[in-house]
């Protein structure tokens, strides 16, 4: 009987079943009292306090979510290939050419103009380190422009990272 009354109170009975219970309730005062008790119990169950998570819960969830979004965005940028950052890649390529070209030239020309190495070193002589004229290398126009391109490239990369972070945080 109690289960039936709980189901009645919870609205879980069919129309016919509910009607039957209603009729029984009209005739049975004990059943009516039982229903009253059940309704009070139900009210208590519906009125239980919700638990409170710690005060940093929202911040913690949002921090993790932001981090996840940022990582997704990073992966998309990496996977999206040359369509999105082709300018940076082109600059990187040019820089590589400017760095490699002087090395190639030096290899072809036998290093003339870059170094001033002695041809032989006699073992009996006091060992002195060969003097290398780096100024010729660094003053070479290819190297000079390669450095400039390199700096510009790194600057653009950092600026790109900064913009990405700002974009994610602003969302």
């Amino acid at each position: 009987m109690e289960n039936l009354l709980w189901d009645y109170a919870d609205g879980l009975l069919s129309e016919n079943e509910a009607e039957t219970v209603r009729l029984q309730l009209l005739e049975n005062p004990t059943m009516q009292r039982q229903l009253e008790v059940i309704l009070k119990e139900k009210n208590v169950l519906m009125d239980i306090n919700l638990e409170l998570p710690n005060r940093y819960f929202t911040d913690s969830v949002m921090a993790k979510w932001t981090m996840e979004q940022y990582q997704i965005h990073q992966n998309q940028t990496v996977n999206s290939g040359p369509q999105t950052d082709w300018i940076l890649r082109a600059i990187g390529g040019l820089m590589a050419v400017f760095v490699l070209l002087p090395v190639l030239v030096a290899m072809i020309t036998g290093g003339k103009g870059y170094t001033n190495l002695p041809k032989t070193v006699e073992l009996t002589q006091k060992l002195t380190l060969p003097k290398v004229d780096y100024s010729a290398f660094f003053s070479h126009p290819f190297v000079y422009y390669a450095f400039i391109f390199g700096l510009v490239y790194l600057g653009l990369q950092m600026f790109d990272k900064y913009l990405q972070q700002r974009f994610v945080l602003s969302r």
């Binding site: 109690e2 289960n3 709980w6 189901d7 919870d10 879980l12 039982q34 008790v37 059940i38 009070k40 119990e41 139900k42 208590v44 169950l45 519906m46 009125d47 239980i48 306090n49 919700l50 638990e51 409170l52 998570p53 710690n54 819960f57 929202t58 913690s60 969830v61 949002m62 993790k64 979510w65 932001t66 996840e68 602003s170 969302r171």
Partner: protein, 186 residues
Amino acid sequence: MSPSVSDEQIIEQAIAGRQSAYGQLVRKYERYVFTLALRFVKNREDAHEVAQDSFLKAFRYLSDFRGECKFTTWLYKIVFSVAMNHLKKNRPELLSLDDDQKPLKIKDLGSEDASFALEFAEKKLEIQEAINQLSPDDAGVITLFYLYEQSIEEVCQVMNLTTTNAKTKLSRARQRLKVILSVELT
């Protein structure tokens, strides 16, 4: 943003990329999600983890929410799924007993006395403590149906039950709760 903004509007804003809308959802439902997680996993530390993972999972799949059910039902379903996975990994003993292995001591009940006691006890706190002693399933079904006022069909959706199973589970959970309360109060 005014408090009258509906869940659907907040969700739309979140999907459109407005980060603050996600925060709004967390603030609005953190207590519900945390309480439900606690009912399943039984300790606060794990409940924080489950609640957090549930929100993150909900956010990841937010665009899949089609509004076919209430947002809360959808969210609680995620909490249930995350909590069950958590229990399987960390506390399988809580899931190991099914209903048949946990027979009720109905004879201890003394229905009138238990109801009487229930009425006059320091109600909320004692019921809350009693709910914490229930199995994850029982505590979940009681919380969803009475505290969160989910219909029996919604409880079925959240906990992957048939209507008959849900009704039986609810009835058994209620009886077990009474047993716990009657034992505590004697």
